[in-house]
């Protein structure tokens, strides 16, 4: 890269051992980027092991950030800058880089032992594999230890400051202020003054290193213009943070407390952690003994009048299936959040996928329909959490909210919404008490099929709910054959009725008819947005997956071809065939990595080639 270059956007990848503090360094870099007004998107990419064996390729933890004048909607296809803390990190990251990319390596880690662990026969700094790149070798470990020597830390304690040393260098390169990082260190290490001061020193030392003449020849500062987003107040937010706030906001809009019941699982746990900090918003957290207990307790909470919410990832959702049927049968509101990950079975716990769409829409015993919505971006997790609660309470049904591992951890700038722009969440009116409360409890709304939310404690309305089939009118247990047909029809009609309350499907971009429309859902929003913008293809992105928006069939019918890129083996494509009789072209990717813009552009262009 040229000296003091001005660029529109730039992709930076930080990579090292999972114990190197890469995720922390990345998220702090994102925050200081946000404070300059640049747009960004991040992609934390880390191994399943908490402390994988040091120096191995499978133990590499990386954090990728795309920053620029925007709009930035993906973490970027190919890094322009790589900071590699060891040979393994270099080896894993090299194939992703742009030619000409700047590679900063930590010289001290390129020992014979580490090279062998990474599977290098020859030192890559000398073997020529870096010929296409600009390489800056820095003795990061050594320089860091020198900088923090005065604090008398042990070698391992002192060594752990090196992520802040490297962050200091990076902040200098991007002309960023280190005040916010310094404040963060002061807050985080308030009780440990020596460590606090050592980390701050390391940060300063890295920054100073960039400024020194020693490097001026090889390293340059990069100027990124500030984004020009819509005016308003912004913050950096991950999907887990946005979803936690969204659930709390839904509680406020419905004027009900929320009980969040969950069992730890990757990558759903960040939501459990975030939401545990919101008691002042009337949000309680119950860590259950297992996935089944988590949803069962959430159902119990909803039965008791709170908004019951549970969250997990695919394998945990599978365990919750029977209880979802109970909530359908008992006609109770409930939100089930699924942070999808690579499968089957334990699969790729820390890698993202969107392969639980079948499970959400079809995956239960019997005819047990459930509304399904999904979030497209980290920030959108906020609005979709509110939407899920709204549907659950209006129709008195469980609702599945699909998010994924990428959204859980990825940060982006988010325009802070005004809560008053969301209408209150109305609860169906509770009847006057009197005769036959059982019937009253199951007297449903004419258009929503939602029943009144009668909760224990309300006088003279005692009734029974449960999983046995009940009479469509009286609400008492019924084994009558014709009644089961009526109840099955009613449950289907109820979920279908959601379509009457949701907005018509709009185009995200592009002409409203023509040769090609790309249809996406979930976290593929970012790459599809960029790829369709680059190719001027039309773009439809779904947030409501069951039922689908009423006008979707007509909208897609205006195009010659429908392309559906998804991080699964073609599940939305199947759904569109099933529900709309559409004939889409499926473009599937299941590598545990998000789509690259370039591969989508290529696919769109090749499809167009076939059409012309």
């Amino acid at each position: 890269m040229n000296k003091n270059k001005d660029v529109d956007s730039i992709v930076v990848r930080l990579a090292g051992d999972s114990g190197d503090g890469i995720q922390l360094m990345g998220s702090q870099f994102a925050v200081s980027t946000a404070l300059t007004g640049a747009d960004f998107a991040t992609f934390p990419d880390y191994p399943a092991e908490i402390r994988a064996p040091v120096g191995t390729t499978f133990g590499v933890s990386a954090y990728q950030i795309n920053l620029g004048g925007g709009p930035i909607t993906t973490p970027g296809d190919a890094p322009d800058v790589l900071v590699a803390f060891n040979p393994a990190a270099l080896k894993v990251s090299l194939p992703m880089l742009h030619k000409g990319a700047l590679v900063i390596v930590n010289n001290d880690a390129f020992t014979a032992r580490n090279l062998a662990k990474a599977g290098y026969d020859a030192d890559p700094r000398e073997s020529g594999v870096l010929a296409d790149f600009q390489v800056v070798e820095a003795d990061i470990s050594h320089l860091n230890l020198e900088a923090v020597k005065e604090f008398g830390l042990s070698k391992s304690e002192g060594g752990r400051c090196k992520n802040f040393w490297a962050l200091g260098l990076l902040l200098w390169m991007f002309n960023r202020d280190f005040v916010s990082v310094e404040e963060w260190i002061r807050r985080r290490l308030a009780g440990k003054p020596t460590l606090r001061d050592a980390n701050i020193k390391a940060l300063h030392a890295g920054h100073a290193y960039g400024e020194t003449a020693a490097l001026a020849a090889s390293l340059s500062q990069i100027q990124i213009p500030a984004a020009k987003p819509k005016p308003g107040e912004y913050r950096s937010i991950t999907g887990a943070e946005a979803l936690a706030l969204g659930i709390a906001a839904a509680g406020e809009l419905a004027d009900r407390p929320v009980l969040f019941c969950s069992y730890p699982i990757t990558p759903a746990s960040p939501l459990l952690h975030r939401i545990s900090h919101l008691p002042e918003l009337g949000v309680g957290t119950f860590q259950a003994e297992d996935e089944i207990a988590a949803i069962a307790a959430a159902i119990g909470a909803s039965y008791g009048g709170m908004i019951g919410v549970t969250s997990s990832s695919g394998p945990g959702i599978a365990l919750k299936t029977e209880a979802m049927g109970l909530a359908v049968s008992a006609e109770l509101p409930l939100v089930i959040v699924n942070w999808q990950r690579g499968g089957p079975s334990t699969g790729l716990p820390t890698k993202t996928e969107q392969s639980d769409l079948y499970q959400a829409v079809y995956g239960r015993n019997a005819d047990t329909p459930i509304p399904v919505v999904s979030a497209s971006t980290s920030g959108e997790c906020f609005a979709m959490a509110i939407e899920a609660v709204r549907i659950a309470i209006r129709h008195m049904t469980p609702v599945i909210l699909l998010a994924d591992g990428y959204l859980s951890n990825a940060a982006e700038p988010w325009r802070i919404p005004d809560l008053s722009s969301f209408p209150p969440i109305e609860t169906n009116p509770v009847p006057e008490f009197g005769e036959d409360p059982q019937r009253k409890a199951f007297t449903r709304g004419v258009t929503s099929y939602g029943r009144p939310w009668i909760t224990p404690g309300m006088p003279e309305l005692m009734h029974r709910v449960g999983g046995l089939e009940k009479d469509v009118e009286s609400g008492h247990i019924s084994y009558d054959p014709a009644n089961h047909q009526s109840m099955t029809d009613l449950r289907a009609a109820k979920v279908q009725s959601v379509a009457n309350y949701i907005p018509e499907q709009m185009l995200e971009s592009g002409p409203d008819s023509g040769d090609l429309v790309v249809v996406g859902w979930g976290s593929t929003y970012g790459p599809i947005y960029q790829a369709t913008r680059a190719t001027r293809a039309s773009f439809v992105h779904l947030r409501h997956l069951n039922p689908l928006p009423g006008n979707l069939g007509e909208l897609l019918g205006r195009f010659d071809k429908v392309l559906v890129p998804e991080m699964n083996a073609g599940q939305l494509a199947t759904l569109l065939r099933d529900k709309l009789g559409a004939n889409p072209v499926s473009f599937s990717k299941v590598t545990g990595q998000p789509f690259l813009i370039s591969e989508l552009v290529e696919k769109i262009e090749s499809l167009r080639g076939e059409l012309s």
Binding site: A34, L35, G37, S180, P229, K230, P231, E233, Y234, R235, S236, L245, A248, G251, E252, P257, L259, L278, P279, E280, L281, G282, G284, F286, A288, E289, I292, A293, A296, A297, A298, I299, G300, A301, S302, Y303, G304, M306, G308, E322, A323, A330, I416, P417, L419, T455, P456, G457, M458, P459, E460, M462, H463, R464, V465, G466, G467, L468, H476, I477
Partner: protein, 329 residues
Amino acid sequence: MSEKLTAKDFTTSQEVRWCPGCGDYAILKSVSKALADVGARPEKTVFVSGIGCAARFPYYIESYGFHTIHGRAPAVATGLKLANPELDVWVVTGDGDGLSIGGNHLLHALRRNIGLKILLFNNEIYGLTKGQYSPTSRVGTTSPSSPGGSVETPVSPGQFALGAGARFFARGIDTDKVGMSDVLQKAHAFVGTSFVEIFQNCIVYNEDVFASFTDRKNAANTQLHVRHGDPMLFGDNKVKGIRFNPGTWSLEVIDATETADDVLVHDEANAVLARLLIDLPSPVALGVIYRQPAVSFEEAFYAHHPSRMQRTKSIKDFIRGPSSWTVGD
């Protein structure tokens, strides 16, 4: 204050569908009566059940009721109790529902000490699924799924409960009105999880499995009704007593007329004694065997939610996060 309710006020119009002669009828009567005796209010009372014959219970009690799924009643009830600690929440379960498919939830409810009154109807058999051996069936139980006799070691509900950290364990016999009334009232009064094992006779699949000690004719000699602070006496005219044998670390029966001083006095707070009583083969210990109050889960939970789950702030106070920035026109 509302008028005093009777057992009849807790009875629904639903047709009861247990087999004629089933022990559940007597339990239903005792529970309805106990609810009236303790002054329970139907609107504040909830019966939560799982699956099995016992799980039909909520349909027959005039209160709120939730017939859930197999084994999960303690988990559903936990969410309910957290949502509204003012409610009296009863869980009705069986040996299969509570100790097999739902064993995990029972364990965790007991260790958390959440305010649930858990009634486990133990008949040592699966009734609703037509007679298979259950986790409490004795070795050698012949059943459709164990035609040569079961080979599994049964679980002891009492030992399971104490091992899980239960703070209230009591036992009763389905048809023993007096004993059941006492146990149910004390279970109701306990703050935390009260766990009651009820010996229930399944007339169809496991008839008289408890007859050796439930038979009224010889009950005085086969049943030990324990009461906190009272000496452990039984037999006709209370001539027999229970003594601790330090040589074998076990309880033994002695002639109380000769060695009255050796007779143990029941201390319901003594967990070691409780474990010995649970394992006593004859006489069978009944009544409140263990009771050691502690802070309930809901109390601790609400103490950690200082606003008691009420909203004291708005999302507006949280939505900005640690730092935000403004983009102008």
